[in-house]
């Protein structure tokens, strides 16, 4: 009985819990963490249930308040958003667990506030994914964004300024999205995505529809930090608290990518976004630029988190590139990469957080002096494996999404895309091996003889278990999901790709 309400439960439970945390937090701080974890667990279980239902029984339609669409708000869950739901709630849960010690250290006086807003943020992203109503998506987008502004502002030194800039940019993005919805509403009188998809084809040559599409692309582009619109991201994610950057880096841009796919292939038919206007061509070449730009700038960074931010920008480029190939393989790669990248980015930012937690410094050039591989061997092993995945070394999952993306580029006869993919792979190898060298090789001075045991022993000082376990669950995912990618594609992703491809 409860299973059919999972689409509502996945959102409502964290929503209520968030306010419950707020109240309880005034008197009693300890249970805040556990309540948040409880809510996220419920969401995670619900998302698994939804995925299971979708795989076995097909698309779920959930009418809020019992109103029939297109008048009422409808939650529609197909293979695509069921898959994204699982990813977001999974990362949300893991980072939630991870955040315990981090938040206790970074902002002991703000624990209830943190968990309230964090739960709201997860809920907002889940809501964006689950909804089938264009305006409802805007509202949830703003809930998620507002939560992320607040969370980012809780970070270190420059965080408020970074958050303010993000807020200005984010509001422009959201407003553009709202305008897009407005134009579509004017011409069709509907806000329901499925309904819009039915009504729009007759109007494809209307200027208003074209303008709406442009507004959508730019609005979502800002939200997902797509290359020329990414300027807010490095500052915001660098100065955010570790747990926050781990979660938002892992999921927020990915949900943006999901919304982009929804707009391009559900609200508008692929015929419109691919053939009628050259949206995919523009997106594709911009994505290539994003990949190159992100990787090249990442090489120049000294701050680990900032470096990861630029890698993230490049990764967003990968996903958009996959979408813009507009063929089955490319989209499969893009969807697979959404999952892989969510895991990889969350894991990398978590590792950066763990380093901050223990060392209090994340200057890459400083790692060598710190002998990080001796101090935190497990964290560093996790970093290395994840870095290899970002580079795309098999058998990690990063390789498999790259494989599908390259095949997609070949199918689209876009050789430049294929070359860009492998080139950015090499560039990210430069980025990460620079760090790996710093981590694993012994400090340059003072010069010591080649002796084992004579130099003073660096004591192992690992991150706490509550951080390590989530990190290792993600690492396990990175190692295993790659091998399982064939199964994932055949059970879920092949149905998530729009049928017309």
């Amino acid at each position: 009985m409860i299973a059919e309400h999972f689409p509502a439960l996945i959102i409502v439970f964290p929503l209520i819990t968030a306010f419950f945390i707020n109240i309880v937090g005034w008197w009693w701080i300890r249970p805040c963490f556990y309540m948040s974890i409880l809510a996220l667990t419920v969401s995670f279980i619900s998302s698994i249930g939804i995925l299971n239902t979708v795989v076995t029984q097909g698309v779920i339609h959930y009418k809020l308040g019992g109103w029939d669409p297109p008048w009422g708000i409808e939650y529609v869950v197909d293979h695509l958003n069921a898959f994204i739901l699982v990813i977001v709630s999974f990362i949300g849960l893991l980072v939630g667990i991870y955040s315990k010690r981090d938040i206790e250290k970074e902002m002991p006086q703000k624990i209830p506030q943190f968990y309230t807003i964090y739960t709201l943020l997860v809920m907002g992203l889940l809501g964006m994914t689950v909804t089938g109503d264009a305006f409802n998506l805007y509202v949830l987008l703003e809930i998620a964004s507002l939560a992320s502004y607040a969370l980012i502002a809780m970070g270190e030194d420059r965080a408020p300024l970074a958050s303010f800039n993000y807020l200005i940019m984010g509001t422009i993005g959201a407003c553009f999205y709202l305008l897009g919805v407005g134009y579509l509403y004017i011409v069709t009188g509907s806000l329901n995505m499925a309904d819009l998809s039915e009504l729009l084809p007759k109007l494809y040559h209307s200027k208003a529809v074209l303008v709406a599409f442009a507004f959508f692309l730019i609005g979502i582009g800002i939200k997902m930090a797509f290359f020329p619109l990414h300027v807010w991201l490095p500052d915001a994610y660098t100065y955010a608290p570790s747990s926050v950057s781990a979660f938002v880096a892992g999921t927020m841009t990915k949900v943006g990518a999901y919304v982009l796919m929804r707009v391009m292939f559900t609200i508008f038919r692929p015929y419109f976004s691919i053939e009628l206007i050259p949206a995919t061509t523009v997106l594709g070449w911009t994505a290539v630029a994003a990949m190159m730009y992100g990787c090249v700038l990442a090489i120049a960074q000294r701050d680990l988190k900032r470096m990861l931010c630029y890698i993230l920008i490049a990764e967003v480029g990968y996903i958009v590139l996959g979408i813009s190939m507009a063929n089955r393989m490319g989209l499969t790669g893009a969807i697979l990469h959404i999952m892989n990248d969510a895991l990889m980015m969350a894991c990398l930012f978590s590792v950066a957080g763990a380093i901050m937690y223990k060392i209090g410094n994340r200057d890459i050039t400083n790692f060598r002096q710190q002998q990080l591989n001796k101090k935190m061997p497990f964290t560093m092993a996790a970093f290395t494996i994840t870095a290899l995945s970002v580079i795309g070394i098999p058998p990690t999952c990063g390789f498999f999404s790259k494989w599908y993306l390259i095949i997609g580029a070949i199918d689209a006869q876009q050789w430049v895309f294929a070359v860009a993919l492998i080139l950015s792979s090499l560039l990210s190898a430069v980025v990460f091996f620079k760090v790996i060298e710093q981590i694993y090789f012994k400090p340059r001075e003072p010069v010591r003889p080649h002796n084992e045991g004579t130099h003073e022993e660096v004591v192992m000082d690992e991150a706490p278990m509550s951080m390590l376990i989530p990190i290792y669950i993600m690492v396990g995912g990175i190692l295993i999901l790659g091998i399982l990618s064939g199964q994932i594609i055949s059970t879920v992703i092949q149905f998530a790709v729009p049928a017309s491809f």
Binding site: L388, I391, I393, P394, P395, F399, F400, K402, W403, Y404, I406, I407, I410, D411, A418, V419, I422, S425, L426, A429, F433, E437, Y440, F441, K442, H450, N451, E452, I483, L484, S485, G486, Q487, I489, S490
Partner: protein, 496 residues
Amino acid sequence: MDVIYSIKPLLAIMVSLVAACLILLTGERSKNLRESWTILASVIKFIIVASMIPSVLKGNVLEYTIISLAPGLFLQFRVDAFGLLFGILASALWIATSFYSIGYMRGLKEHAQTRYFFCFAIALSATMGIAFSANLLTLFIFYEILTMATYPLVAHKETPEAIKGGRKYLTYTLTAGVVILLSMAIIYRLTGTLDFKPGGFMAGNASSDMLRFLFVTLVMSFGVKAAIMPLHEWLPTAMVAPTPVSALLHAVAVVKAGVFGVLRVILYVFGPAFLHDTGLWILLAYLVSFTIIVSCFFALAQDNIKRRLAFSTINNLSIVILGAALLTPSAIKGGMLHMAFHGFMKITLFFVAGAIYVKTHKQNVSELDGLGRQMPLTMGSFAIGAMGVAGIPPTCGFISKWYLCLGSLEAHEIVFLFVFLASALLDAAFFFPIVYRAFFKKPKEDINPSFNEASPFMLTPLMATAVFSLVLGIFPNAFVHFIEIAALAVQNIMGG
């Protein structure tokens, strides 16, 4: 030819992976335990691999599928004759290298030994994976794992020089890796499969220009690890690694994996018929002939023993490829045999170089005068290895070169016969001075003329491999039936 469903290939790979985990867990606590894991794993691995010989010799193929990765694409192992040949080589030499590593690493009191043994075990797993891969994608997966596992070994010393060597190694191999990836993806889209098939599966699946392009990119990118001449630069630079690593790189895993990849591409992806029809074989043959001759001259100019050995390796790898490129049964057979035999001979030479370094801290040829008096057994082994590489009977090098020369005659290309002979001469020219210096020159003051060998941990393996290269020369079918296996592989390829 029957297909037997067997888990053995997977076990052969997993043994060293498990050992790697055990090494990591116990390494810092107990050195002895750590090293016994290595040796135990190497022995078990060899037993597993050896147990597959009888069924393969009967003409069967062992297969094990782990999981489907994409339509028509599996993570799959298939042990055929050629793969088994490589598997035997790598697993047999790992036993020797394990013992030798212990002696070498302890002798020099190297740092980070746990990491060293860990990476070594992973590298061997990857090598087995390469040997037993059923398709190009599986091979590529293990190929990249091998790259990642050997990088820490190359940069092991962590000196600026070592780091530079490591970077160069990565630059070359990763770049090659992505090119392989791209070519592989194109092949997959053209044919819908990547499964190795004796005699190739590509012919007729695409325009001739496309096929030529793919052939060139694949051979050149696998050729990076096989150190074909314009792309060989990383190999001498990587000589900064500890000697067992060099031995592993040169004789067991990395370069052999590259050669193995090239041979797989030539014989199992594109197929001799395609190469013959397009005339690509002659192009490749001239390219590697160039490498063979030029690398010898480079080798002559080196004073550092290991660098000299490195160029000799480049030379020999190209000989193997030349054998395959000639496309005649004897030449292919000779190439495959040379791949195996060269492993035994070259590892002896590297072991000797390492033993000399541990004992006397000498790295240059010019310092070896009279060393034969101090280390007669070591230098004697070196002499055997050098004879083998130069192809002088009764060492095993003679047998493989014999087949290669036969092959070049079969192909009616006398040029390549001269290439083989010239390289044999040049090999002799740069190895025998070392032997001469060691045994017949007067020792300099700093050499202790009395008998003072390296530790038995090092001496035993290097003598064992030397003896093996002799025994294999006299009874080439002893123990592991190298010739039969190679003949079987050739029969599969040529017989279609």
